[in-house]
């Protein structure tokens, strides 16, 4: 039962694959599979189901739908329904559409496994499988050599983070002999610190936090639906999700809170500026994704997981909406360059939908995203005044970039004919996500806090009046600033020198640093080692071999001088161990043995003659072996 959210898309994907001959059927099936997955997820969430599956030995896969997992297990297929619906209507003639739909469906299976995991082995399985799905999907258009390369960069970076889960799993196993989350409470402080370290590493890598953030840029090489589902709403959410789930135990580690807050705050600020400076719509959205997950990490570090969970949910809805509308922009105009879009007049209805997403990103009340962001801010101030101020600055940045993106992408511009206007199915998908984004405004109603606390089984802090005023003021300031810059025509360049802007927009030079400091040295090390391998190690081995060859040549000469029979006799005698013992007893070479020996020697000569090439080496080398063996055996007797 509890496996249904995993099995439904898993089997469903196989069905879609089987239907590949009829593209229409495959497209319809893919949406139906997702609807079924939503139903399955809702069912197990309401039952709070649990289950295990033994792998034999000491390995059990445990799953349970509890805590924030109940929300997440439904949220994932809900967004996937919209995204897959969008993708299924979007690509027209494409033969590879079936592959895309199957991969997306199977990704959902892996993601659901990650969400319902109740132990580190199951978590790791889901965690690595979504990474692999990401690789497949980023490289979807594999004929273009650049995309598989981007896919590899993204996979390898996140896999480095996966090591953290390996470490965490090994640590909890060493400490308790179990892999279950439930047994974390029994872990000694030393091992718990290692587990926390591993999980923070894994979460930072998966949620594209500093210094791993640039992999999300590489991921943008994938088709837009892939970016919308994996690289904003779900897979990237895994890092924040696991920290939300395990924060209650991990927070016992002294450095956990400050480190998580530090990573989150750094990413929120740095990523906010990256987004502000970016000139590519998808990359800008990717930068803002990192920044938004940074906000969630701040809330987790401050101990208010319900605020983080609320922010995660709101972000998943509006960011997938923004990515899909970015896809519409790309289709309509053939570019993602923010200086060339301004599609507001050409696609007014889409512009409204993008606007709803942008307002949510900017945290404008009464949208739900504004409520959750204020809760994050309140939590941050609770953790410390500087954390609070930093988070407020990050909030201002998000208002600034959200407004900027909306104006540049879907602001009023020339009315022109667009290449491919969005189809009805696409509009339905966008409309659904926009409706959910709006619906989340219910959080502002009395009891919104309680809803989040119950959904996340965590704490949330209501903002003080001062904090509310501050965040509203920042929203106003941000919107005004963008309006002014728009008027002055500086919204693209921000009045910054191009090189500075490119440096910030390129993630503060982290990709270059990673290449110079890690990638290049490692591959150079590999090349050096290979040269050493061939020229030093193998040479040593060769000289040993040459020595053996030399010895065998000498022996061969001896053999030809007539010792043949004797040596072979001894050799034969060892094989015929029984004779050998008699030989030792008689303290001499008795006639019978000699006869046998020379017989074998003859046979040896014969067989040597029949062999070609270098096989005599075998016999001579074998002889060395036997002679040594006999010498040892007789000396020790």
């Amino acid at each position: 039962m509890v496996w249904l959210p995993v099995l439904t898309p898993l089997i469903g994907g196989a069905i879609i694959l089987a239907l590949r001959r009829s593209q229409m059927a495959a497209r319809v099936a893919s949406v139906l599979v997702m609807v079924a997955t939503v139903a399955a997820a809702a069912l197990v969430a309401s039952l709070e189901a649990t289950g295990t599956w033994s792998w034999g030995g000491q390995l059990d896969l445990a799953v349970s739908v509890t805590g924030f997992g109940r929300t997440m297990v439904v949220l994932v297929p809900v967004i996937a329904t919209a995204v897959i619906g969008f993708a299924a209507t979007n690509s027209e003639d494409d033969r590879s559409i079936v592959k895309l739909l199957v991969a997306l469906t199977w990704f959902v299976a892996a993601m659901e496994l990650l969400v319902i995991a109740a132990d580190f082995l199951t978590l790791l399985i889901g965690w690595e499988l979504v990474g692999a799905a990401s690789w497949v999907l980023i490289g979807h258009e594999w004929r273009d050599p650049q995309r598989p390369r981007s896919a590899r960069e993204a996979f390898v970076t996140t896999r480095f983070g996966d090591l953290g889960i390996y470490v965490a799993a090994g640590a909890i196993f060493a400490a308790t002999g179990s892999l279950r989350y439930d047994d974390l409470a029994a872990v000694s402080p030393g091992w718990l610190a290692i587990i926390a370290g591993g999980l923070v590493l894994a979460a930072a890598a998966k949620s594209a936090q500093v210094p791993f953030s640039p992999w999300l840029f590489s991921a943008m090489a994938g088709p837009t639906p892939v970016s919308a589902l994996l690289h904003s709403a779900t897979m990237v959410a895994a890092g924040a999700y696991i920290l939300i789930r395990l924060q209650p135990t991990l927070s016992a580690v002294g450095w956990f809170s400050p480190v998580v807050i530090g990573i989150g705050l750094t990413t929120a600020l740095a990523g906010g500026m990256v987004t502000l400076a970016q000139q590519d719509l998808k990359k800008a959205l990717a930068g803002s994704t990192s920044a938004q997950y940074g906000l969630m990490l701040i809330a987790v570090g401050a101990g208010f997981t319900a605020a983080a969970a609320g922010q995660l949910t709101a972000h998943a809805l509006f960011k997938s909406l923004l990515f899909l509308t970015a896809g519409v922009a790309l289709h309509a105009s053939g570019t993602l360059d923010l200086s060339k879009l301004r599609l507001g007049s050409a696609l007014p209805r889409v512009a409204v939908l993008f606007g709803i997403g942008a307002l949510a990103l900017a945290a404008v009340p009464p949208l739900g995203a504004a409520f959750t962001k204020e809760a994050v801010l309140a939590g941050a101030f609770h953790a410390g005044i500087w954390v609070g101020l930093g988070t407020a600055a990050a909030g201002l940045l998000s208002t600034l970039y959200a407004a900027r993106l909306h104006m540049l992408a879907y602001g009023p511009g020339p009315t022109r004919d667009v290449h491919t206007p969005p189809r009805r199915g696409e509009m339905v998908a966008l409309g659904g996500l926009a409706a959910l984004t709006l619906l989340l405004g219910v959080l502002w109603l009395p009891g919104g806090d309680a809803i989040l606390e119950r959904a996340a089984e965590g704490a949330i802090l209501s903002p003080t009046r001062a904090e509310t005023i501050l965040s509203l003021a920042l929203v106003v300031v941000g919107l005004t600033a963008v309006a002014v810059a728009w008027r002055r025509g500086r919204l693209v360049t921000l009045g910054m020198p191009a090189r500075t802007r490119a440096f910030i927009a390129g993630w503060w030079g982290i990709p270059t640093a990673a290449r110079v400091l890690i990638v290049d040295p490692v591959s150079r090390l590999g090349k050096w080692l290979f040269i050493a391998d061939r020229n030093v190690l193998a040479r040593i081995a060769d000289s040993v071999a040459a020595f053996a060859e030399y010895t065998s040549r000498v022996l061969k000469r001896l053999v030809e001088r007539g010792i043949d029979g004797v040596v072979w006799g001894i050799g034969g005698a060892t094989i015929q161990g029984a004779e050998m013992s008699r030989l030792a007893d008689d303290r001499g070479v008795d006639g019978t043995v000699e006869g046998v020996a020379s017989g074998i020697g003859e046979a040896g000569k014969q067989s040597r003659r029949t062999q070609t090439g270098m096989s005599y080496h075998y016999y001579t080398a074998m002889m060395i072996g036997l002679v040594v063996a006999i010498a040892v055996a007789t000396l020790w007797r």
């Binding site: 030995g57 000491q58 896999r159 090591l163 470490v167 090994g170 196993f173 080692l529």
Partner: protein, 493 residues
């Protein structure tokens, strides 16, 4: 019954040689049919496996009683999976289509001979018998590489392989004789030696014996820096022989580490567990880094074998470090190591066969000569990607089940070494993805315009391997339970 698995292939090997020239096309079907017998024997043994005992299905006969040498074969939770792997890999390697250079009788006779010998190594429960099989395995492989290898250097590579591993086996022989000299009454029986542990712990003799057998196994495994025979042997070996070399012969080294070094000299092994684990981590990283520098497909796969054998030895070293970590950690490390032996055999076996398929079509192993093959040969690309992902340890495939257990266990025993060794799985991910990218993505070069996908005969060989990789990755219970009977015993110390 187990004896049949050794004797019948040997007899049929002789029969194959005696087939008249005009009927020589019968050699292949005869050999393939014969190779199913060991598979049947394995299936029966598996079905009758007794989880409550160690060595079982033992068959014994007097050989040279005055020296304590006997013919004894049997299986336990360690050897049964390896016997199964051996039987399977020999069958698929013979099924895989291969140009036998007009010598089908000699080729298939050698193959059957080597199958019998290899099964013998894992089934033997007498040290002399073990050694005889061990040494004869070199002969079989020597001829396969020397005669049917490609490239001008095939003979040279074969000889290098031969001399190198022969020197290793000399060290092994000395070690075996050393153990023998401490038995009282004198015996080569592995069951008795494992039971009574005759070699006094802690002495110089124990150290010398440990080092001697260790060198023998380290060459065969191979562990860095004794691995240099491996890449040339693989590059020049024909594809089916590479599969056997990587899938079966390397396992003899790791098997020896467990069966002889660990089980017969446990205290000495425990003293040397840390250095051995360090060597293993060096092999993991060295193999991965050097593999990353390769432009030649087959050499790349060969170096990843060095990397994977490092994982195995790391798990074995952790399992034998009695006194460090918990019993559960040591036991899971051992299970992981044995699963890795099976997984690596299947995965690398498939990768080498696939390299053979690519070579048969393109006549080169140079990766930069290829590109865009995913469109031209979806089946080839699909199976190769599956094998590559299995090799880099993706969950859902066999390699993960092994590597997870090795690292989960080793982290409780040698935490720092495990953490460093983990870097290996990032490097292998990078290099395998680059390999996939170079072979299959991007544009198809014009000269591969008529590139053909896998033929049916190739699929017959590859699909069973790929299927097992998935089965072990998803439902490994049947395998883990058998191995666990052994691991728990070893971890208890």
């Amino acid at each position: 019954m187990l004896t049949l698995a050794i004797v019948v292939p040997l007899v049929v090997a002789a029969v194959t040689l005696a087939i008249p020239k005009r009927h020589e096309h019968l050699a292949r079907p005869l050999a393939i049919v014969t190779s199913f017998l060991p598979l049947v024997v394995v299936a029966i043994s598996w079905a009758r496996f007794d989880f409550s005992t160690g060595f079982q299905l033992v068959e014994s006969a007097q050989w040279i009683p005055s020296l304590g040498i006997s013919y004894t074969v049997g299986v336990d939770g360690l050897s049964l999976p390896l016997v199964a792997l051996t039987a399977l890999l020999f069958t698929v390697s013979m099924v895989f289509p291969f140009d036998v250079l007009g010598k089908p009788r000699a080729y298939f006779a050698t193959f059957l001979f080597l199958e019998a010998i290899s099964l013998g190594v894992f089934l033997s429960l007498d040290l002399i018998l073990f050694f005889v099989f061990w040494d004869l395995s070199l002969v079989g492989m020597y001829f396969l590489i020397g005669i049917w290898g490609h490239g001008e250097d095939a003979k040279r590579s074969a000889l290098k392989f031969f001399l190198y591993t022969l020197l290793g086996s000399l060290a092994l022989l000395l070690g075996i004789l050393g153990i023998y000299l401490y038995t009282d009454p004198r015996t080569f029986s592995m069951i008795e030696i494992i039971d009574k542990l005759p070699v006094p712990a802690g002495g110089l003799a124990a150290t010398l014996i440990f080092v001697a057998v260790g060198i023998g196994f380290a060459v065969k495994t191979p562990l860095v820096p004794l691995h240099t025979w491996l890449p040339p042997a693989h590059v020049d070996a024909p594809a089916p022989a590479s599969t056997i070399l990587a899938g079966v012969l390397l396992k003899m080294g790791t098997y020896g580490f467990i069966r002889i070094s660990l089980q017969m000299l446990p205290e000495t092994f425990q003293r040397f567990a840390l250095p051995l684990a360090i060597l293993a981590v060096v092999s993991i990283l060295y193999g991965a880094l050097v593999a990353m520098a390769q432009t030649n497909l087959k050499r790349l796969v060969a170096y990843t074998s060095v990397n994977h054998m490092g994982y195995v030895i790391l798990g074995v070293a952790a399992a034998g470090a009695i006194g460090l970590g918990s019993e559960a950690s040591r036991s899971i490390a051992m299970t992981g190591a044995v699963v890795e032996m099976v997984a690596h055999g299947l995965i690398t076996g498939a990768l080498f066969l696939l390299s053979g398929s690519i070579y048969a079509r393109g006549k080169t192993y140079e990766l930069d000569q290829y590109g865009g093959l995913a469109g031209a040969s979806p089946r080839l690309s699909g199976i190769m990607m599956l094998a590559a992902f299995a090799s880099l340890g993706l969950p859902g495939l066999a390699g993960f089940v092994a590597e997870f257990q090795i690292f989960a266990g080793t982290l409780g025993v040698f935490p720092w070494l495990a953490a460093i060794g983990l870097l290996g799985i990032v490097i292998t991910a990078a290099l395998f993805l680059r390999m996939i990218q170079q072979l299959f993505f991007g544009d198809l070069p014009a000269r591969w315009g008529d590139w053909k996908d896998l033929k049916r005969a190739e699929l017959y060989a590859l699909v069973p391997l790929a299927a097992l990789v998935v089965v072990i990755g998803v439902v490994p219970q049947w395998l883990i339970r058998v191995i666990d009977t052994f691991s728990q015993m070893v971890a208890r110390g």
